[in-house]
Amino acid sequence: MSDKVTNILLVGVGGQGILLASEILAEAFMLAGFDVKKSEIHGMSQRGGSVVSHVRFGATVCSPVVPEGEGDILFGFELLETYRYLPLLRSGAKVVANDFRIYPPAVLLGQQAYPDGLAEKIRNLMPDLLLVDGLKFAIEAGNPRAANTVLLGAVSGKLDIEESVWLNAIEKMVPRKALDVNLKAFRIGRSL
């Protein structure tokens, strides 16, 4: 199975820090000796729109985009977006989702309701769901803005890569002044 490419999708709302998280993932896979490719869309989607980033690693990776129905891990920064992208996954994929809601325009305007029971709906389709209160643990680590790193830690627990590699990747990608909080947030997430 060493030829197998692992497919990760990071989804959420523009402005949530999805691109940095996907860069840290990609960096870790390169440091661990894998080929890696990633792809995402900039531009329109940054204005509060739905965002999806693809990260793939393995012995050799061809396409930068995860083929439909072949996602192995979904890393969701927001519940509605996590649910939206489930069709990109294979059955039995792993989901790590932030227990966090950002209302889309139609909900803010009172025209549509934000769906109830999304975590259950996700679990019904993808039983391997780890729901994380990223904000709570980030505050515990010392900064509410480190929620993404908590989630990254939780995702790392689903991958067979040594902790030291992850820590090296974070050290390389995160600004020095925010490093301690992020390393702490990562360890909390990894222990979940």
Partner: protein, 592 residues
């Protein structure tokens, strides 16, 4: 050598550095913008934004004529603007190597059309390279300059969204050395394209295309990989990656140079496999040429013409045609959920203006920028959007066919950067020919949509150095506009009254808004004000504040069937006060 994960755009910038490029010029446009933003990391390269793509290419041409290597970068539609110099540059050839990078946007993630730039290479008779990952982006950029100088031709390098904004591993190398120093060399017979000189140059261009094709026959940039002899596939760029993944057993001819085609290599490949397919995104560019060679290939008969390809779409196309078998695939079914379209930011200075255009029942000719989102509900205040600068000239044209009553409803909206890009010409026409439309220049002092790049009116250069700034009102007056007003778009009453007055006028008029983009950082001038809140006792639930579609304002339904109320998210509110001015019950407080 050092390995790094780079985006295609970062890798093209690195390739320019390694190739010894002296001058880089561009106009921002997704997905090409980050090429120039990364080139400024290399201080040896003189890099700068141009007001539009035509100017960017002409700056690069000048540098090339002076003997320096030069690069110009743009998105696909930018080449339409730069086409004029491109076609004649093909005749003059180059001094220092010249590369035009074009980033296409199949699927139109952030564009108004999905034109296929490869047609420009054939149309202008210049070679085009197409990299398939970041490593090739860097390598092909380097190679392009050698090719350009060897064949005395401009070279195009075609990227696309998945290459430019994809990332993969790249090995860095040292820059080349020993390039000749730039200096003036007179050669008017080659560089002055008067008819007499151009007639001499044209046959050389035709000869060059033939020689380049022959060069491609032996160039390792075009590579054959034999596997099965049943299926042979010709592909290039990111599509090659999709093919490798979708049909791993197929033999492939991977083209690194997509124009001109290596005809002998194609003939040879076609002779060694049972059936040849061309898999390419968008137009049947390679396919048509291979068919014209008399070779039987299958292409758009089975491959979609519109949108992006993917490994899955290719596999499905081959399965639907009965060529391969794939297992039944049943995608996971989810329930319908609210969509999440992009929106103007909280505090965006465009919001109140579009609200008032809607209230005035204006017919709005739009343009390219963040404000194109004025189309979205609940603002619903844009009626046309064609290309950069078209808002003003479209308005100028439409009023000529309308009755006097309808004429007054026509308003063009255009941003500062777009106005300076090509809107100036349109306004010159409107003033000159006295078209009685109203133009609103939404001057937010930055090129916002592509990620806040400087422009000629923002007061800074690409590298952040202070620069002379265009005075937009003075410029409009110089173009012959006699009715000009500057308004604060956060002042709704003044915005409404000024719009109404100028729309009623039977002469051309321009309104300039003066609030900067709320995302400009690091300068207190751009802080809008104190955070606002809704007094829950005073709020009657009338929903007036929701009609501006601000992401900071949330409708909170009441659980007991009573009327709900509005709520302002203090983390998102910028204190622009637009919602406060709409509240008839004084329920939105703070900020005064």
């Amino acid at each position: 050598m050092k390995k790094e994960i780079l985006s295609g755009n970062e890798a093209i910038a690195r390739g320019a550095f390694e190739a010894g490029v002296k001058v880089a010029s561009a106009y921002p446009g997704t997905p090409s913008t980050e090429i120039l933003e990364n080139i400024i990391r290399y201080p040896d390269i003189n890099s700068s934004w141009a007001p539009n793509e035509k100017v960017a290419l002409e700056v690069a041409i000048g540098a090339s004529f002076g003997g320096g290597r030069a690069i110009a970068c743009m998105k696909h539609v930018g080449v339409n603007v730069a086409a004029d110099p491109l076609f004649t540059l093909s005749y003059t050839g180059v001094g220092g190597g010249l590369l035009l990078v074009v980033a296409d946007d199949p699927e139109m993630h952030s564009s108004q059309n999905e034109q296929d730039s490869r047609n420009y290479a054939r149309f202008a008779k210049v070679p085009m390279l197409e990299p398939a990952d970041s490593s090739e982006c860097k390598e092909f950029t380097r190679l392009a300059f050698d090719l350009s100088e060897q064949f005395d031709t401009p070279v195009m390098l075609r990227s696309c969204t998945r290459i430019s904004h994809g990332k993969s591993i790249v090995e860095l190398a040292e820059p080349v050395s020993g390039l000749s120093e730039p200096k003036l060399v007179k050669n008017p017979a080659k560089l002055v394209m008067l008819p007499g000189n151009a007639r001499v140059r044209h046959p050389l261009v035709e000869e060059r295309v033939v020689k380049l094709g022959e060069h491609g026959d032996s160039w390792e940039i075009n590579r054959v990989e034999y596997r099965s002899n049943e299926i042979g596939i010709i592909a290039a760029g990111v599509t090659y990656q999709y093919v490798r993944e979708a049909l791993p057993e197929a033999s492939t001819l991977k083209l690194g140079m997509v124009y001109p085609l290596p005809k002998e290599r194609i003939r040879d490949f076609a002779g060694k496999v049972k059936t040849v397919y061309v898999v390419e995104e968008l137009d049947p560019f390679i396919e048509d040429q291979v068919k014209a060679m008399g070779i039987s290939v299958i292409g758009k008969e089975i491959i979609p013409m519109c949108g992006e390809l993917s490994p899955w779409r290719i596999r499905k196309a081959f399965a639907d045609a009965g060529i391969i078998n794939i297992p039944e695939y049943q995608a996971i079914q989810t329930e319908p959920i609210p969509s999440r379209p992009p929106n103007m930011c909280p505090g965006c200075p465009h919001r109140g203006l579009f609200y008032m255009l809607n209230r005035l029942n204006a017919y709005v000719t739009g343009d390219i920028g963040c404000y194109t989102l004025g189309f979205m509900p609940p603002l619903n205040a844009m009626d046309t959007c064609v290309c950069m600068g078209a808002s003003i000239s479209n308005a100028s044209g439409i009023v000529r066919v309308l009755s006097p009553e309808e004429r007054h409803r026509v308003v063009a909206v255009i941003g500062d950067s777009t106005f300076l890009h090509t809107g100036i010409n349109s306004l010159m026409e409107m003033a000159w020919n006295q078209s009685p439309a109203t133009v609103v220049i939404l001057d937010n002092r930055i090129t916002a949509m592509t990620g806040r790049q400087e422009n000629p009116a923002s007061g800074f250069t690409l590298s952040g150095e202070p620069a002379p700034e265009v005075n937009i009102p003075d410029l409009c007056r110089a173009l012959g506009i006699r009715n000009l007003k500057v308004i604060d778009p956060y002042d709704l009453e003044a915005t409404f009254n000024t719009l109404k007055e100028e729309m009623d006028r039977d002469e051309p008029s321009v309104i300039v808004t003066n609030r900067p983009c709320c995302l400009i950082k690091g300068d207190d001038r751009f802080q809008a004000g104190e955070v606002l809140y809704v007094d829950q006792d005073a709020c009657t639930g009338c929903r007036a504040c929701l009609r501006i579609g601000c992401p900071a304002i949330e409708w909170q339904p009441a659980p007991d069937g009573k009327k709900g109320k509005a709520y302002i998210d203090p983390l998102l509110c910028t204190g622009c006060t637009v919602c406060q001015q709409l509240c008839k019950f004084d329920a939105i407080r703070g900020g005064k």
